[in-house]
Structure formats: C-alpha cells, structure tokens
Symmetry: C3
Subunit: 165 residues, 3 copies
C-alpha cells in the first residue's frame, strides 16, 4: 500500500475561480492500486507555499508519494519544479525524462514540462503537468514502476543515512 | 513574431580563422517563421564572455529567443552550457533531452551534446551543437514547439514573479 | 587506448559478504577494446569514500574513464550519483539519458537509475547500475560513443581551462 498525497498547484483553482481539472484523471489511474489517497491539498503558484506543503507531507505526515499537478510549464508563475528542487535531497531524473518522452508521443508539447522527480526522506515527489490529459499521460508513463521505486526506497536493513547535501 | 538572436561560440570563428559553419543551416530553418533574426554575435569559447552576451541579449535587448551554436561538446574549452547555467533562472530540460534523443537517431554522437535550455526573464536560451548538421538536427527536433514555449512564457496576466533562486 | 578504472560501490561486496555481481559483464563488454583496465576498486556505499576514490583516480592516477557500478538506485544508502556530482566539473547528461532510455527497452525499472555522467579534469566518470544485467545494458547503450567522448576531451591544442565552477 502506497500512501499518496495529491497537491494541486494552481492560482485559479486555489482561489475557487476554476475547478481542479487534472485531479479526476489522476484519481482514476491511482484507483488501480496499490495507491491509497491520504490527502488532497490545493495551493496557489507560490514557491514558498508549495515548498512548505511538500515539507509537511514528507516530514510530518510521512506520506510515501506526493503527486503534484500544475506549475511545471514556462509561464512566469510556474515554479513547482523550483519548489520541488528546494526540498528534495536526491533527484530521480529518469522518471521525469520518461514522463516527457512518452508524453511527447501523445503531444509534442509534453517536452515543455519542466517536471522534477525526487526523494525527500522516505517520500517520493513527482511533478505532473496541470492540464488533465498531460497529467494522465505523464503519470501513466511511470505508474507501473512507482511501486518498485517505493520498494527500493524502503529496502535495506540499514537505517537511512541523512542526506549529506 | 519571435525576435531571435544567434550567438555563435567558437574560438576559430571569432578569430576569423574559420567561417561560421553552423549558422546557415540554422537560418534556413528559421526562415519558415515565425522567427525574425534581430542580432547575430560571435564570441570565443570564454565562459565569462558567453555569459555577458546572454545577459545583454536578455536584459537589455529583450529578445525572445537566443540560439547559441557551439561549445556544447566535451572539449576542454567547451563551456557554453556552464555559461548558460550561470545566467538562466529556470531550466527547460525536456527540450535538451529531445534535441539529443532525436539527434541520436541521425548520429549517436548527438548524445554527447551537453546542451542546456533555460529561461532568463522573458528570454528562452537554447544551446545548439557547433557542427552544422548537428545544429540543424537539434533545432529541427524542437522548432515546432518553440512557438508554444514562447506563448507560454508570455501567458498569464500576472506580472512575472522574480525568480527566487 | 582508453585507460579504464572500475569502481564497485556496494556495502556487501566491500565487506566480503557477496561477490561482485556486475563486474564480469562489464569486463566482457570492455574486452572488445579500445579499453584497458588499469584499476579495480571496491568501496562501501559511503558518499565520502566514493568521492575520495573518484578524486584519486582522476587527479593522481589520471585514468581516462571511471566506470562505477552500484549505488544509483533509490535505496537509503544509494549515494553514488551524489558523490559523482560532488567531484565532476561538467555534466554530460545525454549519456545518462541514453543509458536509461535504452535500458528501459529491456526493463522499465532502468528508469529508476539515478546515474550521472560527468567530467573531472581529463577523466570521464560514468555511473552504471549495480545489478549485472542493468550494468551491461547501460554500458552497452553508450560504449560505442565513449571513444568519441574521450577523443573530444583530448581535442584542441589549447590547454584545458580550469573549470570556473
């Protein structure tokens, strides 16, 4: 069982101006298991607020997986990757590469996602695009390896060494 | 209309020892529009000089797009990616990944390009390889999404937030 | 001739608890030349020790190529990419991307490798996964371009400029 938190990053959804357009497709994919949604949060495109929520979900709640949606584009307010880079200890570049390369088979604009994937403590953080189709294609490209990722993170009897940097 | 500057990075072209071998193919691709060449500069492979020109083109001239050619390889003088990393505020890794993966279908050595793509203020900086065929294949791999990239950078009524880092 | 050092990163191999499971396949690939094995070291998954060996192999021994195996996964002790990032002066991201994308054609879990490739002085450092098949597939994906990489690093009459950062 993978305890999963969803973090939607969007000025308009946060202000109530717009419904969350990406979360439904993400939830349908997760329903195939072994993912269990334990939290759902919405924040505006503010780097400090995104960062703060990621820290909370990892350090206090100890969720296994955080899926962010939104804020990965080239717009002036898009800072989800930067907020993620601020808090992760180790990058997992191959998952971001795969989301983009598989996504680009559906839509070449998937190459423009600046999504980051990384590890903070025992939590894997995965950035997904904010548009519904993009989020579903990106998550679909890696969902089968996420359980292996989480299993690897939990492996080895040795206590987790604190990150050096 | 995308106001585009070309920045050739090459010791030999800068000293007049050799013609610019990559710029002609790049210009032919750009001619299909909506790109308008507004500047063309040549600098030697000096990190500080490349950095300085990138800052000038972005901060003073306010061009939309800078295409650099050269200095992306593994030679001891190749520092264009480092100069680009010095000045950009946000990475766009998917465009660099796509240039390499599509380029490698033509020539496996395209994997050796250390090209970086990123945003400084309202300017997108794209590193291209220095050899003519490599530059054309790399640019050809992303040229169709560049107008979408620029449109995204200009989107949203909110003023561009200054980069936090 | 490419003077090559093998650096196995594994707590269990280092303690003698387990044989080195990846090195044999790597050696078979290298035997096709032009690679000559000049050193073989085993260290535990300790970031400082990995870093120290990489510095030694580059700065003192001056080997052309270091192939590390192990420590690239998501386990709490996996720190080979971080140790590599600590010592390299310039990234070569395309080789890491290619190892993952070609590797994923054999096994989707290859996307989970956090491998880094980079240059320190005149030495190219390539991280390979720790499992035997993964290491062979990863190395096989790039072995044909490694001689071109080393030739490029040695090219140009100008003395290697010291890295600015």
């Amino acid at each position: 069982m993978i305890r999963t938190a969803l973090l939607t990053v969007s000025d308009r959804t946060s202000s109530g101006e717009r419904e969350d357009r990406s979360v439904q497709g993400v939830r349908e994919l997760l329903a195939k298991g072994p993912f269990v949604e334990v939290d759902y949060l919405v924040v505006p495109d503010e780097q400090a607020m995104i960062r703060s929520k990621l820290r909370l979900l990892s350090d206090v709640d100890g969720v296994d997986l955080v899926l962010t949606t939104g804020g990965t584009g080239l717009g002036p307010r898009d800072r989800t990757p930067e907020a993620t880079l601020d808090v992760i200890e180790r990058l997992v570049p191959g998952l971001a590469e795969r989301m983009r390369s598989v996504g680009a088979q559906h839509d070449p604009k998937a190459s423009l996602s600046r999504a980051v994937v990384g590890i903070r403590r025992a939590t894997l953080v995965v950035n997904l695009p904010g548009d519904g189709d993009g989020a579903v294609h990106a998550l679909g490209a890696v969902i089968d390896v996420l359980p292996h990722a989480l299993a690897a993170m939990r492996s080895q009897g040795t206590a987790a060494a604190p990150a050096e940097r």
